[in-house]
C-alpha cells in the first residue's frame, strides 16, 4: 500500500521539496516584511539544540559571551573600505527614532566587526589583555533580494565571534582552532555532515579579511552550502578602530583580529543533507526529540506501558515524547513523526504488548525490530548510535560519489552540474573564476592535495568548485 505523498519528491524538484518539508514539518514561515522569517517551534527547537552544542564548544576554548548593540552609527561602517563596500548594498537604515529624524542615520548590524572593534580598542591596553575572546548570539540584517527560508533571509540568527591577538600567528592559530575544534567537530559529530574545510579564494573572502576559512557541505542535489566561516582580519580592523596594545617591551603595537560565525542557515543545510521523500531525518545527537513512543491504540495496559517506557528512556538520558493521541489515525501520526524526522519510533500496541513486545522503527532506513519491553531502552540507545553513524556515512558516500577530479575549466562547469569538481588551483587562470560564475559555479574553497587546510599562500592547492545555495 503506497503512502499518500505529502511532499514533492526530491528527484522531481529539489527546491520545491525543500519548501514542502519546511511547510509540512512546520519549521518556518515567511515573515510579513519581504525576506524575513518566522521560525516555528519545531524549527526553533533544532536551532536551540545547535546553539547549545556550539555554545558549549565555544566556551570550552575560552571564549566569553557578551552582547553588543543592534544599531551601529553609519560612520563606523565606512571606516574599513572593503567592509563598507561589501555590505552597503545590503544595509537596513534607521532614519527616525523617538518620533524624530535622527541627526546621523544608524544601520541595523549586518555583522558587528565595527562596533565590537570600537570596544575591543577601549578594553585593550597591554599585551596582558590579549587574547580577548568574545562571542555574541544575535540577529543580523542583510537585505535579501532572493530570500529563501533558513538559507538566505533578510534577518537571521547567528553567533559571531570576535577576537584580538598580539600576533598574526596567534590570530591565525585561533581562527583555525575555532574552525576545526568548534565548527568541524560540531558539524561532523553532531550534524553528521561531512564538511570540507578549506580557504576561500581572494574573490570570495569576507569584506575586510586577509584570509577566510570555510566549511562547505554537499546538499542532496549535489550543490554546495557554506555552513560557517572563520576570518583572519589581519590588522585591517585594528587600524580602522585603533586597537593598540603595549607589548612586553613597552612599545605600542596594532592587534590582529579574527571573526567567525555560524547561523540559522545551518538548519537549511541539515534539511538538505539528510532529508528524504518522507521528510526530515534528524541525526540523533542533534534531534530535539530522539524517540517518540507511539500508543498504537488503547487496550489492556497500553497506556501504562507507554508511560513507563517514557520514564525509563528519560532516566537513560534520552530526549523522548509520548504520542497517545489514539483518536487520530495511526497512519496519519506515523507520517507526521516521519515528516518531523524523529530518529526512532517505538510502537506500543495491545497485540504486541500481550506478547510482552514493542516495535522499534528507524526513521532513516524504515527498518523495524520487535523486542521485549524490558530491552526497548537498550535497543533504542543502540539504534540512535547506529543512525548517527549511518547518516554521516551516507552523506559522505554521496559526496564522494559526486566529486570528480578534472583538469580543465570546461570540465569544471560540466562536473558542477551534478556535484563537486576538484581541479588544481594553478589550472585556474585569470578571469576563469568570473567565467565560471556566469554558469553559476564558484570555487567553494582551496585545499591542500591531501584535503587539509592550507596555511597562507601555498603552491600545491586543489580548488573545489560547485554550484551553491
Amino acid at each position: 500500500m503506497p503512502k499518500p505523498q505529502v511532499l514533492t519528491p526530491q528527484a522531481d524538484d529539489f527546491p520545491r521539496w525543500y519548501q514542502d518539508v519546511i511547510a509540512k514539518a512546520e519549521l518556518a514561515d515567511n515573515g510579513p516584511v519581504r525576506g524575513t522569517m518566522v521560525i516555528r517551534p519545531d524549527g526553533y527547537a533544532i536551532w536551540e539544540r545547535m546553539q547549545a552544542e556550539v555554545d558549549q564548544r565555544i566556551k570550552a576554548v575560552g571564549v566569553r559571551n557578551a552582547y553588543f548593540p543592534l544599531f551601529i552609527p553609519e560612520s563606523y561602517l565606512t571606516r574599513e573600505a572593503e567592509h563598507v563596500e561589501g555590505f552597503s548594498p545590503e544595509l537596513a537604515v534607521v532614519t527616525h527614532g523617538g518620533g524624530k529624524e535622527l541627526a546621523e542615520p544608524v544601520v541595523v548590524r549586518p555583522t558587528s566587526e565595527t562596533v565590537i572593534g570600537e570596544y575591543i580598542a577601549k578594553w585593550t591596553q597591554s599585551y596582558r589583555d590579549l587574547p580577548l575572546l568574545l562571542n555574541q548570539w544575535a540577529n543580523v540584517v542583510r537585505w535579501e533580494l532572493r530570500p529563501r527560508l533558513f538559507l538566505r533571509s533578510s534577518e537571521f540568527l547567528w553567533q559571531e565571534g570576535h577576537t584580538a591577538h598580539v600576533s598574526r600567528e596567534d590570530a591565525a592559530a585561533f581562527a583555525r582552532r575555532i574552525h576545526t575544534e568548534v565548527y568541524r567537530d560540531f558539524m561532523v559529530d553532531v550534524l553528521a555532515m561531512p564538511v570540507l574545510l578549506g580557504a576561500k579564494t581572494a574573490a570570495e573572502r569576507f569584506p575586510g579579511a586577509i584570509d577566510t576559512l570555510t566549511c562547505e557541505a554537499m546538499m542532496g542535489d549535489g550543490k554546495a552550502l557554506q555552513m560557517g566561516t572563520s576570518h583572519e582580519l589581519g590588522q585591517n580592523f585594528a587600524k580602522a578602530f585603533d586597537i593598540r596594545f603595549l607589548d612586553e617591551s613597552g612599545s605600542e603595537q596594532l592587534a590582529w583580529t579574527t571573526s567567525w560565525g555560524v547561523s540559522t542557515r545551518m538548519v537549511g543545510g541539515l534539511i538538505m543533507t539528510h532529508g528524504d521523500d518522507r521528510g526530515l531525518r534528524l541525526p540523533p545527537v542533534l534531534a530535539p526529540v530522539q524517540v517518540v513512543v507511539l500508543l498504537v491504540r488503547d487496550g489492556d495496559g497500553v497506556g501504562a506501558a507507554v508511560d513507563r517506557l517514557v520514564d525509563d528512556l528519560e532516566a537513560a538520558g534520552v530526549r523522548v515524547v509520548a504520542d497517545t493521541r489514539a483518536e487520530l489515525s495511526f497512519g496519519r501520526r506515523v507520517t507526521d513523526w516521519e515528516l518531523k524526522g524523529v530518529p526512532v519510533r517505538i510502537e506500543v500496541g495491545p497485540r504486541d504488548l500481550a506478547e510482552g513486545e514493542v516495535t522499534l522503527v528507524r526513521r532513516d532506513t524504515a527498518s523495524k525490530e520487535q523486542v521485549g519491553l524490558g530491552g526497548a531502552v537498550a535497543t533504542a540507545g543502540k539504534l540512535l548510535e547506529a543512525i548517527q553513524q549511518d547518516l554521516l556515512a551516507e552523506a559522505t558516500e554521496r559526496r564522494d560519489e559526486r566529486t570528480v577530479d578534472v583538469s580543465t575549466v570546461d570540465e569544471v562547469a560540466e562536473a558542477a552540474a551534478t556535484g563537486f569538481a576538484r581541479i588544481r588551483w594553478d589550472a585556474i587562470g585569470p578571469g576563469d573564476e568570473q567565467r565560471l560564475a556566469t554558469d553559476g559555479v564558484t570555487i567553494r574553497c582551496l585545499q591542500r592535495l591531501d584535503g587539509s587546510l592550507p596555511e597562507g599562500d601555498e603552491d600545491e592547492l586543489i580548488a573545489i568548485a560547485a554550484r551553491s545555495y
Copy 2:
C-alpha cells in the same frame, strides 16, 4: 586598615553608586548610539543564568520557543488603537533597505503582539489548536530619552510570551500561572528578591491590555522597580488580527490572548537589591561563579591544593573558578572578587595549608571561617545555602521596614520619599494618581488586603505607591 574606596557609597549617592558598580564590576557600557548598551561578559553571564532559569520554568508550563521577525510593517502597529498610541513615540523606523527607500516603512519591534497575533491567527482553526503557547527570546527597541544601563535602554533583551485561549477564564488563569509559577518563583527562589505581586491600575496598564499583573521589587534606596509583567489582552488583539476558532459546537469565536515578559532590566534590579558599598552580592542560586578559590601566595603544595579543591567543588556541582594570579596583590584581587559579588571565597595560603586548613569568606557578611581542607566542600555548600536565604531575608526585612500604612494621599507622597506607601484603593479619588505623578510617585500595584493578587474588579483593595525606576 580601611580598604581603598572604589565605589561611591550608597548613602552618598545611590544612582552614582549604581553606575560605579556597573563600570567597576565590568557589567556593561554605553553603546555608541544614544541609549544603547554593551553587555560585557560578566554582565552577560548573569543574564545567561537568568535566561536558563526562566526558560526552564517557561517550558515546564508547556510553552514552546519560536522566533518572529525584528521588522514589523508600520500598518500592523496601527491596528490596535491603544497599542499604537502607547508605542508610537518610542519607535525606531527603517525607511531604507537594500540601497532603496522602502515603499512601506518598517518599525523595529518594540514588542511583538502585532506580528505574533498575525501568525497565531494563521495557525488557529479550531478549539483543538488552543491554547497556543509561544515564547521568544529577542531584542526589542524603544527609543529612550533618559537611558540608564539595564534599567532603561533603547535596545534591551527579553523574553516575550504570547498565548491564545478559548475563554477569558483560561487566558486569565494562564497569565496568573506565568506570573506566579514562573516569575515570582524565579525572582524569590533564584534572585532572592521578595517581589510584591499585584495588578496595575488602568492608568499604568500595557497599551491594549484589559489587565496587567506586575512583580514589584524594592531597591536598596526604597524606590520600586517593575521586574516583570503579565497581560490579559482580552479580545483586543484577537479582533485586530482576526484570531478566530471554531468551538466544540462548530461556531466561530474570537480567541482571548495574553502576553508577558521579563528583560535585562532584572540585572539592574538584582544589583540595586543586593549590592553594597563593596559591590555586587550575587545570590548563590543565580551566581555564574558561586565560589572563587584564591591562591593567596605560592608555597609548598598550594597550587596543587587549589587545583584539587576546584576539582572537588566541580564534582559537587558547584560553579567555581580558581584565581592563581600570585603576581597580583592579594588585596587587589580580594577587592575585585568582592566587586563582582562571588558569594564565597576560599583562600588557600601556605601558612594555613601547613596546618591543613583553608579560610572561607562569605561575600554578604564578610564573616570568615577556617576549616580543614577535607571539609571545605561541605562548608562551602552550607554557606551557599545560608547566603541565599539570608539575602532574601535581608531584602524582605528592608522592604517591610520601609513600607508604611497610610490613609491619605498627602501621606502617600511623604511615605514614598523613603519607601512604599500602602493605602486603601478607595481612598484614592479621581485625579489623585495624576497629582501623585507630579511628585514622581506612582501606584505600583493593587493587592488584596492580605497581599494576594486580585481577581478582576474587587472593592477591598490596597494600593502600593512609590517612587520608581
